[in-house]
Symmetry: D3
Subunit: 286 residues, 6 copies
């Protein structure tokens, strides 16, 4: 990994290349002469928010350091259909061998960034859109980066950098009050304690227990959710309020939740169900 | 990995757990006492073709070998909304710590299997549905397993176990005839040679060059595609014909392509854009 | 690692064994017959707080699963000179080959736990003793576990699970206010923001900026430190106050700092300079 | 690792950085702008023998290759309080992110070198000071390097590059004579055979058995130790004599042992209990 | 690995260096001063086909990037006794430390290339010489590269990139017909199906089952083998015919098999029993 | 690796299986039903000294723990043609998938043990046969184990566990005397110093320098070698004498060298050119 850009994980990219290339790209090695040079362009066939061009560059660098990648748009840019995103120049074999892995990363990450962008737009600036832990196994850092490129914010990165007491934790620990107290007594002083509440009764318990943040899960948008927000804002106004569940990526639902006064809206579909963006590589040998 | 079930990759699962758990599940360790036992059920909230239960079992085994997982349906089964898929019994901490990773795998793989199932149904048995290399980096073996669970078949697994000469290879190698000849002269005798053709002229060149299989890419479904099939069947009937491009997961398009007489229909969306299936874990401590 | 006991890292232990054993324990393989059985006891030669017996058990398990380890005292127990801590029974070769690595871990961790214990005692319960990031490279999780066994609490585990703005960050970001604001705007909502202050002016800036926690570094114990505490408690009483710097492990200094009203006292020497505890293995073949 | 400087293990350094940085240095990424440049100095706050500057350089190189490290003193130099040891120049983010790991290595290794230096001074040149296998798990090569920087010499590096028959081996193999004979018969011809003796009787047995080296363990400094040396020097003068046990780092004890005529004095405390040296990083952005 | 030259596996070379160097080349570090420069030549003491010079270069690069390697002959060249193959210039320590590993690779690979060359010569161009899976564990890609350098061709690289139904598969699957059918139904469309036949009856079964390739194993060269060829060529002339078993590297046997009309002759001894070529390093310091 | 049987390296075996199996044994998975059970025997087709049966067992255990391996002869036994060595029972798929890797190890190691055996026989007990560092990259520990199974002894295992000053070291360090002195001053006290001598003048220099062991390299067997032995035995009789170079595996040459009075004869061909032993697997499903 890069220690200063932790999402840019060269080991992950190497693993993806090994997965695809295996014992060697037998088609390219057979069909293309070793010295052949080429130029190519990576093009977004559809409008999208671009995320992943540094990954494309790293893929090509690993395949053959002689390949020069120049990016034509900024990460996070919203581009129109058929926008060239980057040019590649160098050994034809390497470009062809790395093409699919590069596009697989770019299409997926741009898909997440694009989906996030439209969700963020739907809030009208009234709440933050944040991701969840419903990410692709192995790709969490990258997918959370894509969420940022789409204008979203990140929730915790894993089970170790934030306390979120969910319904099952409450059951297993014997109630809201005990769960919050146990968490407070165990974790270090820089961690806030958040708890998921499904009912107004739980919300009141959580407030009594001194939770720093409350996740309102799967509440009815027209009745329970606004009531919960009101209760919290009256009792302890600095409490952070997150809404999740049943929201999806529908702009109207997002707008309604954002208007309810919550601070954050977390959406699993940002990462687990974003359709890939169609990106392609146009190739010209020289 | 398991050498006899190569898709069941325990190292991949360990990496996914490390990614999520990091330095420890601070919420669970704080809220749930070490000896607490629990039972839980994994439930498909929506109808789906199930794929990934062995992964769930392996996730839980790695988190805590004392957790007993029993599956309630067979891999590849088509289930209705709200079908219980498996029961878990054992240490509550382990179940809660492993929950998200288990569900992330199960939801994604069942999503792919389900999407594949409906595409296979659409063919009316007239052609095979096969996947592509447009898979999630790191998850190819698993995603191709999910395609099989959905009734699909696999294309090659990587760049090393099949020759597929694509448009860019043709450009880089100087034409269809030379590309096919080079491939034949280089790869071992157990590999067939397939070539992508965009035009009828290329199809005729490919037939002359003795290609074993021809990929008809992005051809017009009502004119060029059936004509290409006719040309091939007349010239060298044993040639394998694959169609791809612009097909997606729309049943009607799939049905039309299947009726054209091709052997295989390859669909990238099987893996790159399958929506995740909503699966959850219902928890009861004891 | 163990996903439910994350400090019990079997890969770390395997690496330590490889480091010591290299291509094989040539003395033991030469001198001791393969089938020889033995019993042994691990003994603390000096009074200490015990930490690391599960590591001893894992070391022996990795060397030879036939070795049975029984612990005689609880982790975290304060024991007298010459206290037997565990018995080992099984193949003599394995016991001798694993001895040094087991004792190296046990002596070091017990050293940290013991030093922590006396620091905690010195506070009279008026403040928490916490560790720092001044740990041995590679052993952080274990050393922080030893701190807990000694009755201490942990600070953040790394640069990723807590925000602590230190003097150099303030310089690099252009002042206390801007640093706090930037941190708040970037990190997820479950992270508190702590800032290190060397002067009362900085303390006031930090309070204005809304820091959740303030680290009073290297302040004069008789004047500046109590004054800083008073300022904070008056302005924003819920602010968490940590003291560090120049405190070391001297009980009287610790008592004075604890009496000043701070919440936490962080001490690098807990981990970076704890003398090892003399532990030995008494061996009887049978 | 470096194959020509084997103690300079880049994988170990990378692991230490991953341990500290985890998913990213959230404070630095939040507070310091990406392009900010800085200069910094690493300073020894206390007099010490310096060891570890190449590690500092490698840490910074791994964090960001744009950081330029210049060392101001030689490895192994004895420096006064407040001596600048190195300058760093480059991206501020990287310097701040790598600071703690760099200092943790430098402080520990300089601590070992310093402690070794004073032990070597205490011998008056009459015997070699050597280390033991009581090193920190994972850091043996580095710690043995630090011993050399302090003027000490190394004992064997592991269980595979030297034969040392200890008390427990003698018990397990049925006596001194048999142990020596078995060792000689098994190991390759380039390995000498050393045996630990606790009594004069064992010393005589060891001489009869033809041991190449004898370790006098825990003997009374005023009676048994000199007598053992005399017996050995008379019987087989070329035998290498090592003393260990109960010696510690007290200069007077070391001087007495050195005067007894032994060749080597091995001291576990060189590595297992050396206090860290206080080293800091003074930071100036530019 | 190199993704464009997959046989050039830098991780394998690093492992070989670690295996040989362990904790450090104590002879070279002791005897040769750090700054000493040297020149050296690698020389083939005996006539051979050269394979492995890029490995020599990579070995030296990993040991010390300051070593400059210039090759004097092309890979695959047939050279006479005492031919210089490459010059090395740079730090003496690195050259001496890397020497043995470099020569071990070069001698082995050139041995395989040389043995292959003479087998290929023996065919008179009438059949291809191919390798088998009887390669050295860990070195398959390199050894198959050496076969190519010697003018041979490769069989499949592993169990995953080609279907070869052997005698034990036939037994386990219930006969030739069922085995071929099962294989066809399971593997992807780019894989041909080959089956091993020991008798003429099996050959006929295989032809009926539609096998793409038939391996005639251990057949009598004067009777059964030519008869089998005749049967196949008459029934389905495009079937690929491979001969193996009892052939070895004897030129006359190879010539006879080649004359029988088979397409391929596979020879395990190419890789499992090729004598190493005597290559040495002549050294001059400067 | 096994810490008590260090040559039994399970990671190496896993790597060999991954190399051969890749993404899966497509033939076996296609042809053999999942539940099929089988029995098989591993048979030595030719007389040999057996080495590697524990590797066979570990290969099968890794492929499928349900496979039961029973060995029929002892490691190191000299067996006749067509001797059954082990039986296998369990899942047919696993036996077939692991067969080739198991046999590749067994054939190679038995080949080395067999060649060593005949060399040892040729000495008439007058000198030890030892191996060299001319081993297969990655397999050194295993090949040195095979040498022991054949009755040979091992030389040093790597560059780190023995000092052997070779001709190039002498050149680079400025002569025999300086090389020996430098080695003595640098390595730990348990290492003997050996030096390679090509001439009688060098032998005398080495004796003067106090070398513990002298390697007589490539000397004329009828004149220089016996003269060198005589010089050494007269000057310093305890010096260890090793002969190497131009000896090979010819029994008569070995006998002559052994009669010259040397202690050790080192032979690279033991490991670098031992022909593999023909071992096979006879298979019966049940």
């Amino acid at each position: 990994m890069s220690f200063t850009d932790p999402w840019l994980d060269s080991a992950l990219i190497a693993a993806a290349l090994r997965e695809d290339i295996g014992r060697g790209d037998i088609t390219t090695l057979a069909c293309v002469l070793a010295g052949t040079q080429a130029r190519a362009r990576i093009v977004a066939r559809r409008s999208c928010v671009v995320a992943g061009l540094p990954i494309v560059a790293e893929v090509m660098r690993q395949v053959d350091p002689a390949i020069v990648v120049e990016t034509l748009v900024a990460e996070g840019a919203l581009v129109a259909d058929d926008t060239p995103l980057a040019t590649l120049a160098g050994p034809a074999r390497g470009i062809l061998t790395g093409e699919r892995v590069a596009l697989n990363f770019l299409g997926r990450l741009s898909g997440i960034a694009t989906q996030t962008h439209w969700c963020v737009q739907a809030t009208g600036g009234k709440a933050r859109i944040v991701d969840t832990r419903k990410t692709t196994p192995g790709l969490r850092a990258l997918e959370k980066y894509a969420v940022r490129m789409g204008g979203g914010r990140n929730h915790r990165f894993g089970l170790d950098d934030g306390v979120l007491i969910k319904d099952n934790h409450i059951i297993a620990s014997g109630g809201v009050a005990r769960a919050v107290a146990n968490a407070r007594a165990s974790v270090h002083h820089l961690a806030r304690v958040e708890i998921e509440c499904d009912t107004l009764a739980q919300v009141r318990e959580a407030l009594d227990a001194g939770a720093d943040a409350i996740l309102l899960d799967n509440m009815d948008l027209s009745s329970t959710l606004p009531e919960a927000v009101a209760i919290i804002r009256q009792a302890r106004p600095a409490t952070i309020i997150e809404a999740s569940g049943n929201i999806g990526t529908d702009p109207q639902r997002i707008a309604r939740v954002a208007s309810s006064g919550v601070d954050l809206i977390s959406i699993g579909a940002l990462t687990h169900s974003a359709p890939t963006v169609d990106v392609g590589l146009d190739f010209n040998p020289r």
